[in-house]
Amino acid sequence: MYLIYALFSLTLMGMAFGYLLGIAARHFKVEDNPLAEKIEALMPGSQCGQCGYPGCRPAAEALVAGEAPPTLCPPGGRALAEQLANLLSLELDLSGVDDHLPMVAQVDETLCIGCCRCYKVCPTDALVGASKMIHVVVADACIACGKCVDVCPTECLKLHPVRPTLKTWRWPKPLLAGA
């Protein structure tokens, strides 16, 4: 008999406390706007649009809302994906990231007609040139977003993988078979 009393009362208390906790969670919920700002600060800020969102702020908000994976930003690469995953405590699937080598845009000088359409869309001003003059890409500033490739009428702009040099070579992660 006492066992049934004990079970009953404890179950009732558990349910009551759980209900109270639920009310508290909803009532005292903290707006996570600061989180979106923090994420935006981590991003490259070039508003290139490669993630599919119209800029870094909307992408940050999508991340906070949980609509986008932390690997959404190609220019940010693996480093950014890891930081975002850490910040948001998300699962990180790096299989799609960094499979491609870093890219840079290059002008094929035989095809450039100097129409000046490309530098107007470059988010980092990495294209230099004047009307009727051959344009050139400043490789250090180029983030390989691809916008210039889209607008070029003669298709003289293409994205090429950056060739690995002795200076950019890094030790790969050791492979461990089994444990």
Partner: protein, 518 residues
């Protein structure tokens, strides 16, 4: 507050950690250096054989050069020039595979030798002790001398730094703790007087009065030879016998053992009044200053189970490693690993068609029995790696953090202080490639830093672009406003003029009517 206690720990003679790999030096330690190595037909001289900025060529394809002639100049302060190892014609200046595990291309000058071995002018012997300290340091730099122990750091920079910091002791590193390597040993046995001369020249260049030559106790003949050579200057120079241990040749370990002081983290040896140079560097300084001959060749140990006649060979820089190996009876079918340097810290090369560089102390072709190649097993936390680490790190903790992807927390256990000596990997019973993890982690952290830097740069560029567009917009708006204001002003002026004319004609009309009326 800690200083008095720490100084109690800093007694001379302290060693921490270290391992005892089999020396395997018997094959080459008792053979003289081979000086009659046949000249290869082409020498491949990489423009980057040193730490710092690559040298820039000053010759063109087709130029004929003499032995010892300058063919590339140093760029900036931390750099070293390059000289032709023999006479010949510049065949090409191109990207050629580098002596590196990746064998990625690096700018290289190809020198087609003509067999004449004709020296340039100006290689008479001079008295180094008539030169000033600054002059000596400058000439060391002009001769392209870099650290010959493997680090290949431009020696002029170190000498200048030592002179400015007024160091008290020059320590000469005759440790050579890596297995197989005996080039420094033979150099000390055969050319002790030249090395001592080089040391004295360096002391003059540094303006320091004292030097110690540290030699491991497994090189008794070298100790004897060096002792005899320093005897005339026994008040200033001494030979210190070090216990045979790997890594005794690690500069900071040797400094602590000999002086009792530790180089502070992030600092340099000059901060505590010492400077260290390799015996090979001392020899190169002797050649460069007394005989005005630049650094164009080096002694390299060719050894390993896949080499039939292992030997120390004095070969010109740029020699294809395959030529060196063939000279010593290379048996490619027995080779399991090709190593530049020693087995503990050297680099595995993918093939032997790569050139000899200034920092190459050894070329090893190891057979299957001489390498370990098992799969790594799980860590059993035996902490042998902790006991072996000469720096005092916790390799097992760093490794488990790196495996889990937590590179930042690996830093807490001392990742930045790791010298990649390999002692931890050597003793690990689970055969975990610990040093590989640390090299990977350091590279990854650097890449993350660079990526962050690039992100910040991109953001700055994007902001500047926005600012520029804003400026353009504002200027356009200002111009439009100015034009509008000007137009308005003109319109106002015209209206005023019209009004003035109208009133004037009205007044003249009035006077006319008045006149006609009277």
């Amino acid at each position: 507050m800690w200083k008095p206690y720490l100084s109690m720990l800093f007694k001379p003679g302290t060693i921490r950690g270290g391992v005892h790999p089999e020396p395997r030096k018997e094959a080459t330690a008792n053979l003289t250096i081979e000086t009659a190595f046949p000249l290869p037909s082409i020498l491949y001289l990489a423009l980057q054989q040193h730490v710092g900025k690559a040298a820039e060529p000053v010759v063109r394809v087709g130029d004929r050069v003499l032995k010892g002639q300058l063919i590339a100049v140093s760029q900036g302060n931390v750099s070293a020039p390059l000289h032709a190892p023999t006479s010949g014609v510049i065949a090409d200046i191109m990207d050629f595979p580098s002596a590196h595990p990746s064998a990625l291309p690096t700018p290289t000058i190809l020198l087609e030798t003509d067999g004449l071995d004709e020296w340039r002018e100006g290689i008479e012997e001079i008295d180094p002790f008539t030169l000033s300290a600054e002059e000596i340091c400058a000439r060391v730099g002009a001769a392209g001398v870099v650290g010959m122990g493997g680090a290949a750091f431009p020696s002029r920079v170190k000498l200048n730094l030592g002179r400015e910091r007024r160091i008290e002791t020059l320590i000469i590193n005759g440790g050579e703790c890596e297995p197989y390597l005996t080039c420094d040993d033979r150099l000390m046995q055969e050319r002790a007087e030249a090395i001592v001369d080089g040391i004295r020249i360096m002391m003059r260049g540094l303006q320091c009065q004292q030097s110690i030559i540290g030699i491991e106790d497994n090189k008794l003949d070298a100790i004897e030879a060096m002792r005899r050579a320093v005897a005339p200057w026994a008040s200033q120079m001494a030979v210190a016998v070090l216990p045979s241990l790997y890594p005794m040749g690690w500069d900071k370990q040797m400094i602590r053992y000999l002086t009792g002081l530790e180089v502070p983290a992030g600092g340099r040896a000059t901060d505590i009044g010492v400077l260290m140079h390799n015996v090979g560097t001392a020899y190169a300084v002797h050649e460069a200053i007394r005989y005005q001959k630049p650094l164009i060749s080096r002694v390299v140990t060719v050894s390993g189970g896949a080499v039939a006649r292992p030997r120390n060979v004095e070969a010109p820089l740029g020699t294809p490693l395959s030529a060196l190996l063939d000279f010593c009876g290379y048996q490619p079918e027995r080779k399991a690993r090709l190593i530049l340097g020693g087995p503990m810290m050297g680099e595995a090369l993918p093939h032997a068609n790569l050139p000899l560089v200034k920092g190459a102390a050894g070329i090893l072709a190891l057979s299957v029995e001489e390498v370990s190649a098992s799969d790594a097993k799980s860590c059993i936390r035996c902490s042998r790696c902790v006991t072996a680490c000469p720096v005092g790190l916790l390799p097992l903790e760093m490794m488990s953090r790196i495996r889990a992807g937590q590179l930042e927390s690996a830093l807490k256990f001392g990742l930045k202080d790791c010298i990649s000596c390999g002692s931890c990997s050597y003793v690990c019973p689970s055969e975990i490639p610990l040093v590989h993890y640390f090299k990977y982690a350091n590279g990854e952290l650097m890449a993350q830093q660079q990526a962050k830097h690039k992100s910040e740069q991109t953001r700055k560029l994007a902001d500047e672009r926005q600012a520029r567009l804003e400026r353009v917009r504002q200027e356009a708006a200002a111009q439009a406003a100015a034009r509008k204001a000007q137009a308005l002003a003109q319109a106002e002026a015209r209206k005023a003029a019209q009004a003035a004319k109208a009133s004037q004609s009205a007044r003249s009309a009035e006077t006319q009517t008045v006149e006609s009326a009277s």
